[in-house]
């Protein structure tokens, strides 16, 4: 167990000083520390290191927790069966932008009441939404009308989530009701009139519905229409205290089919909006069709259609029976069209006026509505020349409500469109430039990244972006994601998640471009890059299923792309990278044989390679050979693994020679030398310790140099500890005394690393293994007391680690090995009782290891255990030998020397 840094008393002291120092600044703080920590440098260091982290803030910790919370798995299900107030929730009826509507029931001795309860959706309790809900409750309590669904009750849950209890209307949408009953035109109008009056009533109470559609006008069995879901009601009078809490723009959770032009444009609304929506409903009610279809339109097309398009007359709707068309022609046409005018000031002044005109029609009296005159049609001419972008700009740069003076606005809009185009181009180009030349300071880098992403996000939302630009945006996201995924500086918590988001967006945007049917030659590359990068991050984060989807997508795209032009080296390179990516995934999935095939496929595409091949290709080939080697080390034959490693080292030597200051290449070369050394000389190796030693020395030289280069780099230290350990492993068979020294050196470094990060699981595992190896080597040289103490340390360290972690197969394997070594050493120390206990403990772990991966590593560990037991458990010696032999059969077949 790692000892705590300080004793409780010392801790009190540290705390005191820390808090006092926090109050002071600059020189005063330094002076204070001088006084209080005189002669106690460790104390001062402790306080200072805490002070350095005092500004950390709560954000990091909070985000860790909510990150975890957001990853909780969730099968789809409904949140029902609870009680809200005296009502029991039965089922979910509907789900809107910010709330959920449940069917609920209240029952007591005398009667059962069925209601609809609208509740803010859990998890969405942001201030604004809660306020909105509260406001709505208040508003609706004021609305009492036979054609508006009544509010029965309201309240707040214990935690301040407001809910509204409403009359439950079981009925049909008005259009369906009319269709089912085959109502005549007159009957339909008569059904519609009370709806208009109800809307007008609400308008007089300063409430706009904002979301009138057939689904919100339900007709009961008795034929009464009722208006529902004043869900996004807005107050007209701004001075009412409730209105202060509401935002005007905010979430526009409406159906585009029924939205008025001003809603689409995001302008502020008036009662006229509802008139428009009523007009659409009326159109549908009379003709059975919608005045226009908004399905599958891009936002800019939609806008154009609703805001500037001509309206077809109801009577001219395709497929209308002649009689109906005749009936609609003339006055009814005009009434509907008047309600549907794109300019709000030209519609009916109120819902009541609409109702009155309809009544006049029913009574055969002249109506107010007039046909569209040329004067007004001319006004529309200018609007048609707005480009989609200009209209979008209007949203971005909050346009004033009210009448639009066509000519001037149109000119301004055009100028802004040009500006926008320039802005788009500059952001995208700038992104790529900036990201390749990042400044050093972490804060600036972070701010730049954030800014870039925000710009990209805004851009990506624009309607009508050409595919070429989409591709550039996708690439920019990839660039950003790469930078976010890099670990630079300290405390980069959670950046992988951000990188993931960027890559996801990159894929989204790339696919958007593809969906537009673009035949741009660069498109496949952009797409596959996005998928590949996304897959890599997903793999890193452990989301293997999604990684597989994206690796597969990338690979398929790469195959097609390469096949289209096999002589292009870039395409070859990409295809190889994708084969390799697939193989990486398969390793993680445990499909080692498949990964071997894919690495080989990758290499097949890259070869032939020589010193003249491009750097990128050589690097990729090096990685593939190396990984191939590791995979083969796992399943055998070892000779093939050795071949692969040799090929990797040849390539890497070339790279190091050509680019001597590249640390990355050196590290990779070192890794490969270690690989070769282990395959040749470790106990699970081919039995050529002499050659192994040569390679190990080469690896050590590089590792020592790299560690010296940057003394604060923990990775380099960890590598060095690894190399020492590996050297020990190679020496362990023939020269255990020397091996002990190497192992002890690695232990020392690992202990140093644990000082820095006591919580690290990897270091603790490494330490456990290294202690075990020391113990084993000491045992072989007969230095029993030392062997015992290290064996115990190894066992205890691993047990403590396991206690604080969930069971993992590889932990069990390590612990088992520790027990075996301990048993062996105890046996040598003549502690038969102890040896027996250790043996049993090891045997308890057999199941886990035996049931685990079917690879040479497990075979070897078990074989060793059996060998040990055959020595110490004389009674069952022959059984152990037999089991050991079984394992060795496989090992020898793969080329391991016994």
């Amino acid at each position: 167990m790692t000892p705590p840094r300080v004793t409780p008393d010392e801790w009190r002291h540290v705390e005191e000083i820390f808090l006092a120092a926090l109050e002071k600044e600059g020189d005063t703080r330094a002076q204070y520390l001088d006084e209080v920590c005189r002669g106690k440098p460790q104390l001062r260091a402790e306080v200072e290191s805490l002070l350095a982290h005092a500004r950390g803030g709560t954000g990091v910790l909070e985000s860790l927790v909510s990150e975890a919370a957001n990853k909780l798995p969730a099968p789809r299900d409904k949140f029902i069966d609870s009680k809200i107030g005296p009502y029991r929730i039965l089922r979910r009826l509907d789900e809107g932008g910010m709330g959920v509507v449940y069917l609920a029931e209240r029952s007591d001795e005398h009667y059962v009441q069925t209601v609809a309860i609208k509740l803010v959706k859990s998890g969405m309790d942001s201030r604004e939404i809660v306020n909105r809900f509260r406001a709505e409750r208040q508003i609706l309590a004021n609305l009492t009308h036979p054609n508006i669904a009544a509010i029965l009750d309201g309240g707040s849950t214990e935690d301040g989530l407001p809910y509204i209890v409403m009359e439950y209307i079981g009925g049909q949408p008005i259009t369906e009701f009319a269709g089912a009953g085959q109502l005549s035109v007159r009957e339909r109008i008569q059904l519609f009139l009370p709806v208009c009056l109800a809307v007008h009533y609400a308008h007089q109470k300063l409430v706009i519905h904002r979301d009138i559609k057939p689904g919100n006008i339900l007709v009961t069995a008795e034929g009464n229409p009722k208006l529902l879901d004043f869900g996004i009601a807005k107050l007209l009078a701004d001075d009412s205290p409730i209105a202060q809490g509401l935002t005007i723009t905010g979430m526009r959770a409406m159906t585009p089919d029924y939205s008025s032009p001003e809603q689409i444009r995001g302008e502020s609304l008036s009662t006229s909006t509802d008139v428009y929506s009523l007009g659409v409903v009326l159109f549908e009610l009379l003709t059975g069709s919608h005045p226009y279809s908004t399905k599958g339109l891009t936002p800019s097309q939609l806008e154009h259609l609703v805001c500037a398009g001509d309206r077809g007359k109801p009577s001219e709707t395709a497929g209308l029976p002649n009689r109906l068309a005749r009936e609609l022609r003339g006055d009814l046409d005009n009434i509907v069209l008047m309600a549907l005018r794109t300019e709000s000031e030209r519609r009916y002044k109120s819902a009541e006026q609409l109702a009155e005109d309809l009544t006049r029609y029913l009574n055969g009296q002249p109506v107010i509505a007039r046909t569209d005159t040329p004067f007004y049609r001319a006004g529309k001419f200018f609007r048609r020349h707005w480009t989609g972008t200009a209209a979008v700009l209007a949203i971005l740069a909050t346009m004033a409500v009210g009448t639009i003076v066509a000519t001037r606005e149109a000119r301004m809009a055009q100028a802004r469109a040009d500006e926008m185009q320039k802005l788009i181009e500059s952001v995208v180009v700038k992104t790529n430039d900036d990201l390749t030349n990042l400044p050093q300071s972490t804060e600036v880098r972070a701010a730049l990244l954030k800014n870039t992403i925000e710009n990209l996000d805004r851009l990506a939302k624009e309607p009508g972006i050409p595919p070429k630009l989409l591709m550039q945006i996708s690439s920019a996201y990839v660039q950003a994601g790469i930078v976010q995924g890099l670990r630079v500086g300290t405390a980069n918590v959670g950046h992988e998640e951000e990188a993931l988001r960027s890559m996801e967006k990159a894929v989204q945007v790339a696919e958007q471009a593809a969906a537009k049917g673009s035949s741009d030659p660069d498109l496949p590359h952009v797409r596959l890059t996005a998928h590949l990068r996304l897959a890599q991050i997903q793999l890193l984060l452990g989301d293997l299923a999604k990684a597989q989807v994206n690796y597969t997508a990338a690979l398929n795209l790469a195959k097609a792309w390469e096949a289209a032009k096999p002589t292009d080296p870039l395409r070859r390179q990409e295809l190889a990278t994708d084969f390799a990516g697939m193989a990486d995934l398969e390793i993680r999935l445990g499909q080692v044989h498949e990964s071997v095939a894919n690495y080989r496929a990758a290499l097949g595409v890259l070869e032939p390679i020589d010193a003249g091949s491009p750097e990128q290709i050589r690097e990729t080939a090096g990685v593939c050979y190396r990984n191939l080697g590791v995979a083969l080390t796992d399943v055998g034959p070892l000779a093939a693994a050795l071949d692969a490693y040799r090929s990797a080292s040849k390539i890497r030597e070339g790279l190091v020679e050509q680019y001597p200051s590249n640390v990355r290449y050196q590290r990779r070369l070192e890794v490969t030398y270690v690989d070769i050394g282990l395959v040749l000389g470790s106990e699970r190796g081919m039995g050529d310790p002499a050659t192994a030693a040569v390679y190990m020395t080469k690896a050590r030289e590089i590792a020592e140099r790299l560690a010296k280069l940057d003394s604060s780099n923990n990775q380099a230290k960890e590598d060095l500890a690894g190399v020492y350990e590996n050297i020990g492993q190679v020496q362990s068979g023939l020269n255990p005394a020397a091996a002990v020294d190497w192992f002890l050196r690695s232990v020392a470094i690992t202990r140093e690393l644990l000082e820095i990060s006591p919580v690290s699981v990897d270091y603790r595992v490494s330490l456990g293994m290294q202690e075990r190896e020391v113990a084993e080597a000491l045992g072989r040289t007969n230095r029993i007391p030392g062997a015992l103490s290290h064996a115990l340390a190894s066992r205890d360290g691993l047990i403590n680690l396991i206690r604080s972690q969930p069971p993992r197969k590889d932990f069990s394997g390590d612990l088992m090995k520790s027990y075996c070594v301990l048993a062996d050493v105890q046996h040598q120390a003549r502690d038969d009782a102890g040896a027996s206990l250790s043996q049993q403990a090891a045997m308890r772990l057999f199941n886990v290891v035996e049931a685990g991966e079917d690879d040479l590593e497990s075979d070897y560990s078990l074989a060793k255990c059996y060998d040990v037991f055959s020595r110490i458990d004389a009674a069952h010696s022959s059984e152990w030998i037999q089991k050991s032999d079984e394992r060795w059969q496989r090992l020898t077949a793969a080329g391991v020397r016994r």
Binding site: A54, E62, V65, S82, A491, N713
Partner: protein, 187 residues
């Protein structure tokens, strides 16, 4: 279920301090169930806060039994511990297997960024355990704040210290945790 809780609450009001502990398994079940109902098909823009779950669990379990805010605080303290456990269990379950033993060098060299995986809630949990071994109270307070979403006043009620003390404990504890997490990060 309802009557169990009511009974426990009654006993607690009567002064049986241990009664609340018996709530723990009920709280666990409820939180876990609710945690599993979370997210899934919901809009991806909504960030789920674990404290929301805690509040909802409260609603479910205690609901209309109007408890004074002090008792609510104790409930949240329990829920915080439970929540932490749920999140850690889940995070561990999710963690990919690493290849231990023998060859320790990372397999997937394409992803060979100079450093390694970020601190996650497991690291936080371990760090909290380490903190607890030095100073139990701070660990508890931090757990209540971050996993239970409790306010300083509520925490002070449960821990029996002043609000100012809670503030100081948080300050020191957070700095300590930051250091701890930064250290494991910069390997």
């Amino acid at each position: 279920m309802d009557s169990d809780i009511t009974a426990i609450l009654v006993e607690w009001k009567r002064g049986d301090a241990t009664a609340l502990d018996r709530l723990t398994p009920l709280v666990y079940d409820e939180l876990l169930r609710m945690a599993k109902l979370r997210i899934g098909g919901e809009s991806r823009d909504v960030t789920m806060q674990p404290t929301t779950l805690v509040h909802e669990a409260y609603l479910k379990l205690i609901g209309h039994n109007r408890l004074p805010w002090q008792n609510r605080a104790h409930f949240f303290a329990i829920a915080a511990t439970v929540m932490r456990r749920i999140l850690i269990d889940d995070a561990r379950r999710r963690n990919a297997e690493k290849r231990g033993g023998g060859l320790k060098i990372t397999l997937n060299e394409e992803m060979d960024a100079p450093d390694q995986k970020p601190a996650d809630v497991i690291a936080l949990d371990l760090a909290l355990q380490s903190l607890a071994s030095i100073d139990e109270r701070k660990s508890r307070i931090i757990e209540m704040k971050y996993f239970g979403g409790m306010t300083a006043v509520e925490i002070s009620e449960v821990m029996g210290v002043s609000v100012a003390t809670v503030g100081r404990e948080l300050c020191v504890g957070q700095a300590w945790l930051h250091r701890e997490l930064a250290g494991s990060d910069a390997r």
